[in-house]
Point group: D2
Chain length 336, copies 4
């Protein structure tokens, strides 16, 4: 089998993860080009302008890890150059721009995968598999807890699109992935409790979002931008045959008992440690879908639908009422 | 110290618990009369008509465990007879009737305790105490999971007032107890997934309820009438200094590891096993408040406020919108 | 069914537990007499000389909770008076005296139960039941951890017979109970690490004891007189089909996560809290064996065999070699 | 900094792990030669005769992963060629041969590390670090549980040196590592319960080993060659300030609650999954010790001392008595 030749645009934290995973873990892919003007390590691979990557005939697929506001343009350019695309979330903060570029991807006949890496985490995969095996029975309720260790900088917050589009969007995708159904209605309550910057940015940092699916079943997501005890990523599924839940991963299994109590380790605090396996599996699945010419495990439509839920959640907070997805999606009817 | 002399009205499951707790666990109280026409064991205590209990000069306090539709009348009769009152929840399904009898209790100068026993559970007490000690910091979010092992009979459902007034009302009280704040707004989604009877009764059996408190902080409650794995009673509190949670109690601590997996015991399945300690403590606190002439740990107003939240939740499902407590409580303004 | 009428000799901590359990939990037994010159509460029951209890025709059974050095004499007196006997461990520190009184019990045709209460603990019962159901398969290895929160007083230590006869004897009985086999050989290592008093008393406070059963399978017990984190009572069983273990009981299920770690409650610290249920069940089983005229669940022979193991352990430490039970039991051959 | 150039002798399971770790995880080392006649993948590195590796001037260090009976010879050859040495355990089954080659290593002035990888496991490192920080206080007792998922082949068993030299030797090293003290006396009981092959090989498959350290403190190790629920690797440390334990690692954190119980995942079943991190850290430490010219974290003497304990355990079973290390080590007095 020939190796898939990959170009990476953006060698920040995430770009470096994908680079290392392809290099060390994936046998049938090679990174043949990178593009990042601020990256100056010598990997023995040409570091070129982004457009040289798109135009490089030796590149089969492009991995887009550059800032969010470049995503849509780079997806467009990759599609036009006939390259398969892996793009970090979010695709774009504008529905119209997302739809426009998805159309281009469709017309170009290339594959696009969105970087919702958490789907590939062994804990969440286990939950999905238990549901698939019928261990939960008819699923009635999904609960997601998703809390960050600390809020981002004011600068980041200002261009993030708000907590729902920046952070909760992972949970919206997770809800669709786990439930295997479409969300119909969203109700959200939110507040700014943990950070002055969040207030200055006109954003919120704490939220509870209730999702109603098209068959009346439900999900509830709770978020905080600041869990002092670390990165808190848990999930529980409840149904007619039982309930399953997954807990955080910890760096070790120790428990210390002394006269003050029983003490254990905190959850892995950094998303790159917590989701090490999911980043590996994600990239493996991307390369595999190219090599076997099969459908991407996370599509552009998945990205669009998560975005619609996020926008509905935002509107729900603004207007303090449940918001129907179809209110948001009206203009997006061709794709959905 | 003289012993408090107690009469028990209703010797069903709950009446028997209170009887046994007073007899076996509480030194400074005696049961001197019971009233239950269907109860025929000989406890060596006169089993008389309810009104003979109220009129008995040797009775200091009355414990009302008879059917819900008798509660308000018996509270009224007890108050008029100058007896302190312990009444199982709910006081009454009508706000007006509740307020009316609370006025009578107030005028009679007797003490009234509502039977929200879960407040006295060691797990929930521990959470309350951690908050009190500042271990959680500013509290941002409360999560309550409350699931019954199986739905009640159709007959019971028909007169129950609906899931929110019958079952979730415990969780509404718990939310106020743990947060130490008043609920301002309620949003609920609900469905009937687990029982035909529930559908016939026009009720629901699964719900997610979001509460907004007067300072903008939040709670979310999830309920099911049927958890096949048993009685599921958990709680989690999150704030600026940390998070604490309590899990279910189990009959033993065993874990069996075999080739199929690691297996442990299910949660205690029966509310009387799960809440053994809370029933004991509840009755102890009732007797103590009488003996020390201090305030009851759960008052009639606590019962009324939980009722308002339950009615708001019901209206929220009916009208699919967040409902303000003050919409429900308009006519109850004198008490609140 | 007629109630069994019980007399209690010794109303210290343990005597009071048995009294309360019979009074509050056991329907078909009554305490009709007690004997304790230092006990002055008025229970409405005559407090008389021990011999008046033995001679009282209205007493069916005697519960002996007086100091160890009275046990054998009181067993003897009870047997001669034709009363069934419950005796707290140890029966006596001398094998000869134990055998002598067991002979008297046998001749008198009364029943004798030794107070190895831990057998009735729900955790250990669960392990026993898993073995009985074949869940462990052929059992190869038993591990018992048994640690006290703090060493006893020097005065107590001096007359205790040493750690193996006083403390580990519970674990020796547990090993026989769980394995359902006889111990053949004992090897023990021990030290005095936690208490000056223990050294003064010529005793030890920390030990590891290896037991070999008659079929070559094994158990290992580890003890300490001082676990600063509380009363540590755990057990693990390993065999051809799997492994099962039980953990300590805790007062609540809370876990607090803050920036320093994840923190939970310590094990129940006091043996009377830890073994509440086992004391109840033990007394229930004693009364039931009398009422149904069936064999006692813990016999005098069980007490004797645990004593032999304890003496073997002691000899093993003294001579630093494995000791055969038959070396100790030579003179006890009639009974074994 | 210049990279350390490594040759690997033996590219079986373990050789491949070390190869991959150096290639993917360790920046300042390169594998420049391998030697394995049965290995035919093309890694782009010359696969040569072992002696060509020793004679290769571009090789700084040799990693010996070939069969046990070649270890001593290859250590000798490496030392004579002036290469640093990493050797998988065991060094050799003969004390005399071990001492002989350790002398050669010493004279050659090269560094030697023995492959006791478990020392570098995050769980055991955490225990070591808690002890170092005084969290346990004076350490009184160490407990190690070490069980394999299934026994090796008869062929392997015949040349393994027996369970203590092949399997328990890891636990003997762990005991020395955790306690930071020397073992003085060993007592072992053992049986053959799980495998006919083990009986045929005259070996045993189940054991309990008690170690006494030079200050009287203790450790107890329990082993089985066949835990049907997987690879069981736990440890507990007890002392004057508290107790700490580590549990097995699991592939995910899920718990499924259904009507039959609460079910979770089994421990990671394969030593290469369980000890992934420890193999990485081990190799990193080896390279670091070379690059910084500092002492190896596991020395040849560590290997020798573990071997002495293993031989003492074997003698203890054969003679059913506690065996002093100095009985075994008499002839090894120069080194110890």
């Amino acid at each position: 089998m020939e190796k898939t030749r990959v170009g990476i645009i953006g060698m920040g934290r995430i770009g470096k993860i994908h680079y290392a995973n392809i290099k060390n873990q994936i046998e049938n892919a090679d990174v043949v080009a990178i593009s990042d003007p601020y990256f100056d390590s010598d990997l023995g691979i040409p570091n070129v302008d982004a457009h040289e990557v798109f135009n490089n005939k030796k590149v089969d697929a492009v991995i887009i890890c550059s800032p969010t506001d470049t995503h849509a343009d780079y997806i467009s350019a990759s599609a036009q150059a006939g390259k398969h695309i892996f793009c970090e979330k979010p695709h774009d903060l504008s529905i119209h721009r997302v739809i426009e570029t998805l159309d281009e991807v469709h017309e170009a006949g290339v594959k696009l995968m969105l970087g919702f890496n958490r789907r590939f985490d062994p804990n969440f995969q286990k939950i999905k598999s238990l549901i698939g095996m019928g261990e939960i029975g008819d699923v009635h309720l999904l609960k997601i807890t998703s809390r960050d260790p600390s809020p981002p900088s004011l600068e980041y917050l200002k261009s993030s699109g708000g907590m729902f589009l920046d952070m909760t969007i992972h949970d919206f995708d997770m809800a669709r992935f786990i439930m295997g159904k479409e969300v119909k209605e969203v109700f959200a309550v939110a507040g700014a409790f943990v950070s002055k910057d969040v207030e200055i940015a006109g954003d919120f940092d704490t939220a509870v979002v209730t999702l109603k699916f098209n068959d009346g079943t439900m999900a509830v997501i709770d978020n905080s931008r600041k869990a002092v005890y670390g990165y808190d990523q848990r999930l529980e599924i409840f149904g007619s045959n039982g309930m399953a839940k997954v807990d955080n991963n910890k760096p070790d299994t120790h428990v210390l008992y002394n006269q003050h109590g029983a003490h254990g380790s905190l959850p892995l605090n950094f998303f790159m440690d917590r989701y090490t396996m999911s980043y590996q599996m994600e990239m493996e699945m991307f390369i595999k879908a190219i090599n076997t010419n099969s459908e991407m495990p996370v599509t552009g439509t998945d990205g669009l639908k998560a975005l619609l839920i996020a926008l509905a959640a935002q509107k729900s907070v603004e207007e303090n009422r449940p918001v129907q997805i179809e209110e948001i999606g009206k203009n997006a009817s061709i794709i959905l």
